[in-house]
């Protein structure tokens, strides 16, 4: 009796193994994400799987924010028939070790979301990057604001609340020394300057990309500048949303004109702009709180990544027009401005 039972268990195990070992004919593609606890990356990963899934068997791995785990995942998963891997590095410097390892094994790699150093990209010619340029997002934010203020630096419209011809601004910076934060802030200010707009920076605060920290920071700023503020520019949506929550408590975004909604025409409305295009940000725009955001277009990036992977595998002859290869190895995806249609 006992023998029979064991026999049955063994048979079941073998059957299970046989089922698992069936591999489909599509080429295999490894997708390595830095951290699925980041909602933006979780969504991005889903989009890549959806788009690339048509022509690849996609295997996804989450490094849980650890570069050594990611390195080992890549090494462990690779095999002779691996076509191409797609890597979102945990640490942009971590790309160095990844590129060296993949070069030894001759497996091409597409990086996304975190751009490796140019020197590391130059280590090997089978390395590509798909992403967006931080400078563009800062400039687009500035353009959204200039549109709102009437596009004429000589004569600002009613959003220049005190009518002094200058825009009193609070800047929320992601992180001191963070490449994207520095570039977004600097490029945005440069764009204003080029068009002749005068920005008075009331405060430049670092809130570490974080909604709760931005909430606290804006609380402090309000003590000194509540009446002077005419604009808040944030390096990302999360901080913009935190700022809005605090501003609402301080009496901004009311329906003073009694038209039944929060809107720009109201005297308590204050323009706040973010970057990323989070779903919550889109909701805040629809509800009239957030003036606008600049969308980091992950879906277009996912399409570009899938096309590039097919090109590398030889299953596609050329990239579509929207995705031109710059310097032979970069595909830059444009940010998309996104404002409420009031």
């Amino acid at each position: 009796m006992i023998h029979k039972k064991w026999l049955r268990i063994c048979m079941a195990c073998l059957l299970l193994c046989a089922l698992v070992s069936c591999r489909p004919a599509k080429p295999e593609l490894g997708l390595f994400l830095y951290n699925e606890a980041d909602p933006y990356i979780l969504e991005f990963g889903r989009q890549i799987i959806e788009v690339a899934g048509a022509s690849f068997m996609v295997h996804k791995f989450d490094a849980a924010n650890s570069q050594p785990i990611q390195n080992e995942q890549i090494e462990s998963w690779l095999r002779a028939d691996t076509g191409v891997v797609i890597v979102n590095p945990v640490d942009r410097l971590g790309a160095y070790a990844v590129i060296n390892r993949l070069r030894q094994l001759d497996v091409p790699v597409i990086f996304f979301n975190r751009e490796p150093l140019p020197a590391d990209m130059a280590l090997w010619d089978e390395v590509w990057y798909v992403g967006a340029q931080a400078a563009q997002s800062g400039r687009m934010q500035a353009e959204l604001v200039m549109n709102l203020f009437g596009n004429n630096p000589e004569q600002l419209n009613e959003y220049d609340r005190n009518g002094d011809g200058r825009i009193q601004t609070v800047l929320l910076k992601g992180e001191q020394g963070h490449q994207d934060a520095e570039i977004r802030t600097a490029e945005g200010l440069k764009a204003f300057e080029e068009k002749g707009f005068v920005i008075d920076v009331l405060a430049l605060e670092v809130a570490n990309w974080n909604q709760a920290q931005a909430y606290d920071t804006i609380g402090r700023v309000l003590r000194d500048h509540q009446d002077a503020m005419e604009l808040v520019i944030s390096n990302n949506d999360a901080m913009a949303l935190g700022a809005i929550n605090r501003l609402r408590q301080a009496g901004f975004f009311k329906d003073n004109n009694g038209n039944g909604q929060v809107d720009r025409a109201d005297s308590s409305w204050l323009p706040v702009v973010g970057i990323d295009g989070l779903r919550e940000a889109e909701e805040a725009i629809a509800d009239g709180f957030l003036y606008g955001t600049v969308k980091n277009d992950s879906y277009s990036m996912a399409i570009a990544i899938a096309e590039l992977a097919e090109l590398i595998m030889g299953t596609r002859d050329s990239l579509s027009v929207a995705h031109t290869l710059m310097d032979g190895r970069y595909i830059w995806i444009d940010y998309l401005p996104f404002v409420s249609q009031q």
Binding site: L14, S66, P68, S76, Y96, G177
Partner: protein, 342 residues
């Protein structure tokens, strides 16, 4: 009569079989998992995979020896990860290429590799010695003493990390001598494997052939008895922590180059991997029991499982479930052995 004795033998051998099975249940389960991996991907049985597994195990093994010694004295060490991180940041900050853009010390000359290595070991050993001293003198439970050290070290490490010329940025761009020393190979044998082998031999000698080793097991098995028979318990405990610190220093030195970058998050959570490997390898939390071969087995088991499950493309969340179950099972079996011992 004949029938009776046959029955007796049968009953006995059944008991023995059962005991053998229970004693080694954890290894049987792990072997079953490995068998499953091999059946579903026969390519797993290859020289490359074997070499990669040994390489990935190397640093983990060195760290497991460190905490393993402490576990033998009925202790534990939660500060392992931060200590490794500190050593990695120290070594990395002192070994950057001369032409790298953002160097931690812009004007530092090229140091001989041994200088940063010794410095990393000295710093780790210093903090670890404090752990040992607190545990030995104040009889504070090692869990709490090292929990405090884990938090303190993170503070110290982060301050040092932020003090570099480019500010708090990941440290990369390592000297090729350093990278080659760590991730290179000689006659096809990865250097990391060679270092792990050397450390294994040294630790084996220390644990088995020296007075320190004898005292270590005596203190771990029964501190009171050890004291009565003239063993300096405090000295033994402090020594084992210092030894652990030196091993963390070596581990951190190797880890920075293996990953290709270091920051104040490097090493996070490594203590748990190392402790888990020791427990699965039969180093008992009740003290006095544990062998070098046990640490090697434990580390290899975990690496083989995570490598293998990634190799067959299994989602890492299932890997967590399996690893967690293995740890609890190992501890349960360990407790069973301990109950038998008393």
């Amino acid at each position: 009569m004949t029938a009776l004795s046959i029955g007796k033998i049968r009953a006995m051998s059944k008991e023995q079989w059962k005991e053998l099975f229970v004693k080694n249940a954890i290894y049987i389960v792990i072997l079953a998992i490995i068998a499953f991996i091999i059946i579903s991907e026969p390519a797993f049985l290859s020289f490359t995979v074997f070499r990669n597994i040994l390489t990935q195990s190397a640093v983990r093994l060195i760290l497991a020896f460190g905490v393993g010694g402490i576990i033998i004295t009925q202790g534990t060490d939660l500060s392992l990860g931060r200590s490794v991180g500190f050593a990695a940041v120290i070594a990395g900050s002192l070994l950057q290429r001369a032409d790298y853009a953002s160097r931690f010390y812009p004007d530092l000359v090229a140091l001989p590799l041994v200088v940063p290595l010794l410095l990393a070991c000295a710093v780790s050993a210093f903090f670890s010695a404090i752990n040992g001293w607190v545990v030995a003198k104040f009889k504070i439970h090692p869990f709490l003493a090292t929990l405090g050290m884990m938090i303190t070290l993170y503070g110290v490490l982060s301050i040092y990390f932020a003090s570099g010329a480019p500010g708090p940025q990941p440290i990369g761009g390592f000297d090729t001598r350093y990278t080659e020393f760590v991730i290179g190979s000689t006659f096809g044998i990865p250097h990391l494997v060679i270092y792990a082998a050397i450390v294994s031999v040294i630790v084996w000698v220390l644990w088995n052939k020296t007075t320190f080793g004898k005292n270590l097991y005596a203190v771990g098995g029964n501190p009171e008895a050890a004291k009565v028979s003239g063993v300096n318990v405090s000295k033994t405990i402090i020594l084992v922590y210092i030894m652990a610190g030196v091993l963390y220093g070596i581990g951190g030195f190797l880890e920075a180059a293996r990953i290709g970058s270091a920051n104040n998050g490097t090493g996070f959570g490594y203590e748990l991997d190392a402790i888990a490997a020791c427990v699965v390898g039969g180093i008992s939390f009740s003290g006095g029991i544990g062998k070098v071969s046990g640490a090697i087995t434990g580390v290899l088991m975990f690496t083989i499982i995570s490598y293998g499950m990634t190799f067959i493309g299994m989602d890492q969340y299932y890997q967590y479930i399996i690893k967690g179950a293995i740890i609890v099972a190992a501890v349960a079996l360990d407790a069973k052995k301990y109950i038998k011992k008393t």
